[in-house]
């Protein structure tokens, strides 16, 4: 019979009953540490934009610490907002973006509904093909579009070059494919029984779309709208290629071309302009962040 005697004087280890085990706590600490590092990396430029924007030009050219504002001033903002040009850019961007969003959503929601729910010849090919058009870069397309517009001018006399509203025709090609893809994903995830219940309840296809599908897929619609807006707002190549006079420019192009004159850079104003230009997407993002992210990932996981 073995007798196990507890040795007197053996060291007793104090047991910690924390809510998280030791290794987990360290993992958490490291995670936060790196997250802070990455946040600094990712947020540095916009923060610096803001810092620069509230500095006067004297302070900018001085050799003081660029990361601190000694004499904050709103001069840059005032000047920018009172100069007609900048407001024109803003207005153009806003108009273009809003119109494009409306057009994009109309096209993509109806197309997505047809592709997700109604089968017709070529519908599956079209659904995948639509997304593949994204792979065609705008840098390839702007030259032939140039020539096409010239052709239109020669034959119909409609001048498409150098008008901000031409962009309303062009931008949907950039937003519609992705929006359609998102909407197809959302519509496809709506159970078919819902259609059938609506059918039995007596709804026509249009009523099914407007009273059932759109309300149920609303998160997807919001995400697609946000995306369409952000893409339109941020466009650079198409407006650069197709609009030249100051009154027709949109914001991204406007800032780069008008505020950089030759070798003289008015950095205070540039940063202010850039920040204000980045503001609308950022504000929308701040309020509707969850929809934004859900839309992005839904496209991926449901696609």
């Amino acid at each position: 019979m073995a007798n196990v005697a507890v040795a007197a004087g053996a060291p007793v280890r104090p047991v910690h009953y924390g809510s998280i085990s030791k290794s987990r706590r360290w993992a958490l600490r490291w995670s936060y540490f790196f997250l802070v590092l990455f946040c600094i990396f990712f947020l540095m430029p916009p923060i610096y934009m803001f810092i620069t924007s509230i500095k006067g030009s004297a302070e900018i050219s001085a050799a003081t610490n660029p990361w601190w504002v000694f004499h904050p001033t709103l001069d840059n903002y005032v000047e920018l907002l009172t100069k007609n040009e900048y407001l024109v850019f803003f207005r153009n961007s806003a108009l273009v973006s809003v119109c494009v969003v409306i057009i994009s959503m109309l096209i993509s929601v109806t197309a997505a509904f047809a592709l997700a729910r109604m089968k017709f010849w070529g519908s599956t090919a079209l659904a995948t093909g639509v997304f593949l058009t994204y792979l065609i870069p705008d840098t390839l397309l702007f030259i032939p579009l140039f020539k096409m517009f010239a052709f239109v001018r020669d034959t119909t006399g409609i001048e498409l070059m150098n008008h901000w509203w031409t962009l309303i025709i062009l931008y949907p090609t950039l937003s519609v494919p992705f929006c359609t893809w998102i909407m197809i994903g959302y519509f496809a995830s709506i159970p078919k029984e819902l259609d059938e219940a609506a059918l039995i309840d007596g709804a026509s296809w249009l009523q099914t779309l407007t009273k059932i599908f759109i309300p149920v897929a609303l998160p997807g619609i919001i995400a697609a709208t946000i995306f369409a807006f952000t893409v339109s707002w941020a466009q650079f190549l198409y407006p650069l290629a197709f609009t030249t006079s100051t009154s027709e420019l949109v914001l991204p192009v406007g800032i780069v071309t008008t505020l950089i004159k030759g070798d003289v850079f008015n950095w205070g104003q540039i940063m202010t302009g850039a920040l204000l230009g980045a503001a609308p997407p950022l504000i929308i993002y701040a309020f509707l962040m969850d929809y934004y992210i859900a839309g992005l990932t839904a496209g991926a996981t449901k696609g």
Binding site: F38, F113, K147, P281, L282
Partner: protein, 295 residues
Amino acid sequence: MADIAAPNEFALTGDRRNSLRKLMQRKSTVAFLMALPLIVLIATLVIYPTGYAIWLSMLNKSMTKFVGFGTFEFLLKRQTFWDIVYQSCLFAITAVIFKAMIGFVVAHFVHNIPAKGQRKWRGMLLVPWVIPPAMSTLAWLWLFDPSYSAINWILVHLGMTNVSWLGEAGWARFSVILVNIWAGSPFFMIMYLAALKSVPDQLYEAASIDGATWLQRIWYVTLPMMRNIIAVTALFSLIVTFANFDIVRVLTAGGPQGRYRKRRHTAGCGRVAVHGADPGRGRSLHPAGYLQARE
């Protein structure tokens, strides 16, 4: 014994198949009409210009004669063309690899912290992707400014020397890639975060019981489960990065002079096409490069 109730009589009125078919046709025509705006849009503003572009690239310089692959042959013999291709590939591949790695790593960290806090961090980390690229690139341009670079100020203060971010060829390459990574990693992070969440916890638990370290868990559980999305995002990003114009144009066109050998492919052909009167060459640069990217 089976029990059948007395049958009710009703009239059978012949073949009703035809009207049935008409009903079906109506539904698919409606569907087709609904998809029509999409088809028209893509066909006229994407497909047709693409075909047109390819055709144009097969014309000669003054666009009068059809030379088939002549321009392509010419390009393929030019050293500068291969330089540009090399630069572009280097750029795109490096950028995508780093974006994917950073995105993966950051997604892991965000996934590790308790769910409540994740939203804040996710929000902050996605900011670079939300800011219009042209705007954020201006900020980087300012950060890299040869005389006033705020980053250089920090470096000098830490005892190191000024870096000519946009002046020197090597650093210029680095800068462009850096900005691209900065703007693109959040996209990867978001995608990978969603994918991470979809890996069932039980797999990790089973792996722990089997004795796997955290590294092994990533290698044997996480990566295989995420294979699909890693491939899709990498491919997507590769193609988009390859054609990325905004960053390059803003960073290099407005900067100090000097030929950067690091002249990106698209900016290159953009310039060749627009600033030179050689649309044929400009466009064939692009399809050629584009076909390369497809491989």
